[in-house]
Amino acid sequence: MLVLAIDTATPAVTAGVVAVRPEGSTVLAERVTLDARAHGELLTPHVLDAVREAGLTLRDLDAIACGVGPGPYTGLRAGMVTAAALAHGLDIAAYPVCSLDAIAAGVTADEPFLVLTDARRREVYWAAYDARGVRTDGPHVARPAELDSPVQRVVEHERPAPYGIAAVAREAVLAGERPAPLTPLYLRRPDAAEPGARKRVTTP
């Protein structure tokens, strides 16, 4: 199965083509640029470049795996709507992947570990994983000092790579499962204050 892997939950603009097989997966091509402001510009070109480098066309793809955050950047939505529209246009399934799980899938550990990413505003997104990389807690958003977990080993400053993104969706892709809806993991409400009493323009 040829899977297009996409993630824009971190400052990285990530696209890759992964051949997912029962016996193991192979990354055929990937394009990654580190620029939190360029998700909207670069993602579709990265997708096309990766597909071309893999010697394929978009029509050859069987499925899409897309990081759904958590991510603090408005660019998260660029990745998700790109995945949704590509899936619609190509008539293939798009599988949601927790971006922290995708990072965890690239970690080789023999003990439990935490994955942390930058949530900005001096907070982090985090989730806990057991030694096999299965999520046991999270995802949450917290100040690092208030991070409540007994796990000691910490993986941070990592970004989801195409291999990890595809790995999280692997079983569902191979089983041809119906994908869950592509719903972003925001973990925070939009900033908005309800207006208080009307402000006077004249002094009483």
């Binding site: 997708v47 978009l58 790109t82």
Partner: protein
């Protein structure tokens, strides 16, 4: 030449998808116009919350495309080109539409046209009234914009004649509605209240109409403050605020300045067609006064039906069709949305 054009709009709080057919003679026919609005989510905040609008765009984008396809009876493989609002508008909101449009263009293997939202508001009139005469004058009035534009060619040449120096006309409506404790958005409730009020009850100021003011610019901030002062003074005297009269007098001041400046511009520039579009164009007093003054000045007035005046995908599809018909180059797939795209840049 591409014949079936899909337009995607996401510059503010409406997710719009339109489908049009471009005929050989250059006429453009509307096939579908589907809009998902997040306006209700913003109502209690008294204005659009950008993050909430962006979230709603992501949720609504593909379902709105699907609905437009069902309405038109077309399938995605029938689409020959994608047009999308590249600006101006809210950064995060534009990003969703532009990203979706690129993905659809790539998946379908069709050209992408990033186009100007403001030009779209003018182009939409061709769906109802046919080709625009050249030149024509456009008065664009909405919650985000108040501009007078000279349109020499809808696909390639639009020049700003004047614009608001502070609030947009629609913004003044929202603020005055709050002062009068009417709901958001303020346009429809003020229009409704004004029907029962006396437009001459209170002499509110006409902004930017002094001899030394720029002839074709607008200002609504002073008017909004004058209304608030008047209401506060009435309240301080313990009087009941005559909401209908305040609404009618405020609305009269807005409609008076907008139409007077538009007619004067048409006259001075020797242009005999005026198009009024944007959300505020649906205002009953504005269209009535414009009709009266245009008739007196011998100007042909074109106002698209209300559904076409507010933000939608049909306007972007229509503009896309004109840009295609003019033979403009498609946009590259690495374009970025430009929240401050000038109206003179019709396609990027």
């Amino acid at each position: 030449m591409p014949r079936m054009i899909m337009g995607i709009e996401s510059s503010c709080d409406e997710t719009g998808v339109g489908l049009v057919r471009l005929a050989d003679d250059g006429t453009v026919e509307l096939l579908a116009d589907e809009v998902a609005s997040s306006v209700e989510q913003h109502a209690r905040f008294g204005g659009v919350v950008p993050e909430a609008a962006s979230r709603a765009h992501l949720e609504a984008m593909v379902p709105t495309v699907e609905r437009a396809l069902v309405t038109s009876g077309l399938g995605l493989p029938d689409v020959d080109a994608i047009a999308v609002t590249a600006g101006p508008g809210l950064t995060g909101a534009l990003l969703v539409g532009v990203s979706a449009a690129k993905a659809y263009a790539a998946a379908l293997g069709v050209p992408l046209y990033g186009v100007n939202h403001l030009a779209g508001h003018i182009a939409v009139d061709t769906l109802q009234h046919g080709p625009l005469p050249a030149p024509c004058l456009a008065l664009l009035v909405s919650g985000g914009h108040t501009q007078l534009l000279r349109v020499d060619d809808i696909a390639s040449k639009i020049t700003e004649i004047g614009s608001t120096v502070d609030d947009a006309a629609g913004e003044a409506y929202d603020k005055v509605a709050r002062v009068l404790r009417l709901p958001y958005p303020g346009g429809p409730p003020i229009d409704k209240a004004a029907r029962n009020g006396d437009p001459e009850a209170i002499a509110f100021p006409r902004g930017m109409t002094g001899p030394r003011d720029a002839k074709f610019d607008f200002s609504f901030s002073g008017l909004k403050t004058a209304v608030a002062r008047w209401v506060e003074a009435a309240e301080a005297r313990g009087e009941a605020v005559p909401v209908d009269d305040v609404a009618a007098s405020f609305q009269e001041a807005v409609a008076d300045v907008l139409t007077a400046k538009a007619v004067r511009a048409a006259d001075e520039l020797g242009i005999d067609t005026l198009v009024i579009s944007g959300g505020v164009a649906a205002n009953s007093r504005l269209s009535a006064l414009a009709a009266e003054r245009c008739a007196a000045a011998g100007i042909e007035l074109r106002v698209p039906r209300p559904r076409l005046c507010t933000d939608n995908g049909a306007m972007i599809a229509a503009l896309g069709a004109h840009v295609v018909a003019a033979g403009a180059k498609p946009s590259a797939l690495d374009i970025s949305a430009d929240p401050a795209l000038p109206v003179s840049t019709i396609s990027i």
